[in-house]
């Protein structure tokens, strides 16, 4: 969704004129200041989400944020929306329960690479396979930021972390490839430098029915940037500027990240396909079950179904 220069200027003026922070109404002001370090990329992802939310035509009270545990997991605590901060790894199944019990909700899971792909790795592939109507935003900072910078499921080979003092011997996951292979209907990767494309990707995710996945490559200067020669947050953003290649048609097998200074980061909106969402298909089950039951009870299927729908609440 393109935004005109004029609009951007207006927004900027608004800030200057009112000394109100533009995200005030969507942040829980009474919870600020937040816990994130200077130069951390999580804040940019949150701002992109909030800006997408402002442009979304889904009513504000239907937007829900669910997080797991970690620095990124704290996002749920700062947005002034119905928000659920769950257990480590379980944001997606928790969100699955929310989304199925109330299909009007626009549920966004905001969590870290460790939360979503190590301890919670089993859930994301199954949620994608089922195509539950969830938006998953993963802030990938290549380590467990919250617990002091240990390596995780996306840490590249050779990277230094507090538990790979001699360099990592494992390969990191290539997240867009994994999400696409698992069945996500929308897959994108941007970095915390790419504020507008990220915001627009999130907006697109709101529009899609089914599981969408957005990776946000982010600096964690405190635990990953410094030991891996990426420097402070701004240095890492500068490197993103130089090394990112936008390629929406990239071969997903080829876009794994080494995070070495001499490498490229391929970003883009890679997958945007249609596939019926879980509840859409489950509706079939409900129709069949109610048809069978009414046949068994020798009640006209029409009247029976109407009754069942009346009792089941909103259509």
């Amino acid at each position: 969704m393109a935004v005109s220069v004029r609009q951007v200027e207006d927004e900027a003026l608004h800030v200057i004129k009112t000394d109100r922070h533009p995200e005030d109404e969507i942040l829980r002001k009474d919870r600020l200041p937040h816990i994130w370090c200077p130069g951390c990329g999580i804040g940019v992802a949150v701002t992109a989400y909030i800006e997408a939310l402002k442009r979304s035509d889904i009513p504000r009270e239907q937007h829900v944020v669910v997080s797991g545990i970690g620095c990124t997991g704290r996002v749920a605590g700062y947005v002034n929306l119905d928000s659920y901060h769950t257990t480590h790894g379980r944001a997606i199944p928790f969100a699955t329960g929310l989304a199925i019990a109330n299909p009007e909700l626009e549920v966004t899971v905001f969590s870290g690479d460790g939360d979503l792909f190590a301890i919670g790795g089993n859930h994301i592939i199954h949620a994608a396979r089922r195509n539950v109507d969830l938006n998953v935003i993963c802030v990938n900072n290549f380590n467990y930021g919250m617990t002091g910078g240990q390596f995780g499921p996306t840490t590249p080979e050779e990277a230094k972390t507090t538990t790979t003092p001699y360099g990592n011997v494992e390969d990191g996951f290539n997240l867009p490839y994994l999400a696409a292979a698992s069945g996500a209907v929308y897959v994108a990767r941007w970095t915390s430098l790419h504020f507008r494309p990220l915001r627009d990707a999130i907006l697109r995710a709101f529009q899609k029915r089914g599981l969408t996945f957005i990776e946000v490559v982010s600096p964690c200067p405190t635990s990953f940037g410094r030991p891996n020669e990426l420097g402070e947050g701004l240095d890492e953003m500068e490197w993103y500027r130089l090394s990112c290649v936008i390629d929406h048609d990239a071969d997903l097998r080829e876009i794994g990240l080494s995070m070495r200074k001499d490498s490229h980061i391929v970003v883009g909106n890679f997958v945007d396909v249609e596939r019926p969402e879980f509840l859409e298909r489950y509706e079939r089950v409900i129709q069949r079950a109610q048809g069978q039951r009414s046949a068994a009870q020798e009640v006209g299927p029409e009247s029976k179904r109407d009754q069942a729908q009346a009792q089941g609440g909103a259509a």
Binding site: Q62, G77, D82, Y84, P93, G97, L98, A99, L279, R288
Partner: protein, 392 residues
């Protein structure tokens, strides 16, 4: 697409009224449907799988959703999520799955999210005896999740009770905004008996809900009862209603905001425990059988209580005055009742190495007589009778 909001009262269309011959597992599923459960998330495991199978068949008939998750961690998390959106939600499992659910049972306690967890116990530890009886998760039911918490756990002894106590479990979960456990066992789950389902006798409770309408600026306190609200249970706002709530597993204040300090820990965790503990007289249930004149009392629960009852009859035929205290709630434990019996000889038969016997001893303040099996087969009435004769 429909919302799975819990029905207001008894949904007569959905209840399988009548007299049936059915297994305990099936009766449990019917109890859930009758109580208004419209969301089930689970992962199959013997001897509880029949509950999942019946829910898969029955839920879509009544406009509900059965979802088979990838594991029990996910199942438990999913029912809490569904509960936060207003559904009555349940999962069922057995020992290995119950272990996997423990962390999130703690989350349900912390978030004060009503939900029901059924454990059809088999022999453990580990994979143990997948198809055979056990009662060895009774202490895990009480202490399985980390941290200090309180829990409500029922121990059904018949298919009829699998129905009745599942309904009750939902009611207590809603009344107290808390997870409730149904600690069944393989024998009760798989036996078939008469089950009477009478919609006129079913009571439906719903969680306390905020009265104030959500308005910009006007906030409610989703965790704020602090002993003053009805039953010390704060009203529960649901996702999507506009209250903009925050629920977290971190220690939090009345607003739900994380507050990591010893004072909040004392205030909030104590309130969550006390809302159950202070109402234990209202929650605790037991059955007394010929207690009055009995110097010897059997304390039993679940399927073992049936063997105990038979032993009691055989003993009485032989002129031995034996009574029974049958636990219907294992937790909270009927401690005061056991205290009253402290001058009797107490025999605790159970299919484990002596789990509830410890709790009986704690309240009776003396050692009790035990009859144990570590699982695989029920304790025979004769084994209990033999112990009675030893003690007499």
């Amino acid at each position: 697409m429909r919302k799975l909001l819990a029905p207001e009262g008894v949904d007569r269309e959905a209840v399988l009224a009548g007299e049936h011959f059915m297994t305990g597992d099936d009766a449990c599923a019917e109890g859930a449907i009758a109580a208004g459960c419209r969301f089930y998330a689970g992962y199959p495991i013997t001897p509880s799988s029949e509950i999942a199978e019946r829910m898969a068949k029955r839920l879509p008939q009544v406009g509900g959703v059965y979802i088979q998750m990838e594991d029990e961690l996910a199942s438990m998390a999913a029912i809490i999520g569904a509960s936060c959106a207003g559904a009555k939600a349940m999962t069922a499992t057995s020992g290995p799955g119950f272990s996997l659910m423990q962390e999130n049972i703690g989350l349900a306690f912390m978030m004060e999210a009503p939900c029901v967890v059924v454990d059809v116990q088999r022999g453990g530890p580990s994979t143990g005896l997948p198809t055979l009886l056990g009662q060895s998760d009774m202490m895990q039911a009480r202490f399985g999740s980390h941290g200090d918490y309180a829990v409500i756990a029922y121990a059904p002894a018949s298919p009829q009770e699998m129905f009745d106590l599942t309904v009750k479990a939902f009611n207590m979960a809603e009344r107290f905004r808390t997870p409730v456990l149904v600690m069944a066992d393989e024998l009760v789950g798989h036996m078939s008996e008469r089950v009477v389902i009478d919609p006129d006798k079913i009571e439906i409770e719903r969680r306390p809900r905020p009265e104030a309408k959500p308005a910009e600026g006007a906030r409610i306190l989703p965790f704020g009862a602090n002993g003053r609200g009805e039953n010390g249970v704060p009203p529960m706002p649901l996702a999507g209603e506009g209250y903009r709530v925050h629920f977290t597993g971190l220690t939090h204040d009345e607003r739900g905001y994380p507050q990591i300090d010893p004072e909040t820990q004392e205030r909030m965790i104590r309130r969550k425990i006390r809302k159950i503990w202070d109402h234990r007289d209202e929650i605790v249930e037991y059955e007394e059988v010929e207690l009055d004149d009995a110097p010897i009392v059997l304390v039993a629960y679940g399927s073992t209580a049936r063997a105990a009852l038979r032993a009691l009859r055989l003993a009485r035929e032989r002129g031995l005055r034996v009574g029974m205290l049958r636990l219907i709630t294992a937790w909270p434990f009927p401690g005061r009742k056991v205290e009253e019996l402290k001058d009797r000889e107490l025999i605790v038969p159970e299919v484990n190495a002596g789990q509830m016997a410890r709790e009986v001893e704690r309240w009776a303040r003396k050692p009790v007589h035990r009859v144990n099996r570590l699982g695989g087969a029920p304790i025979a009435p004769e084994e209990i009778l033999q112990k009675i004769e030893e003690v007499a």
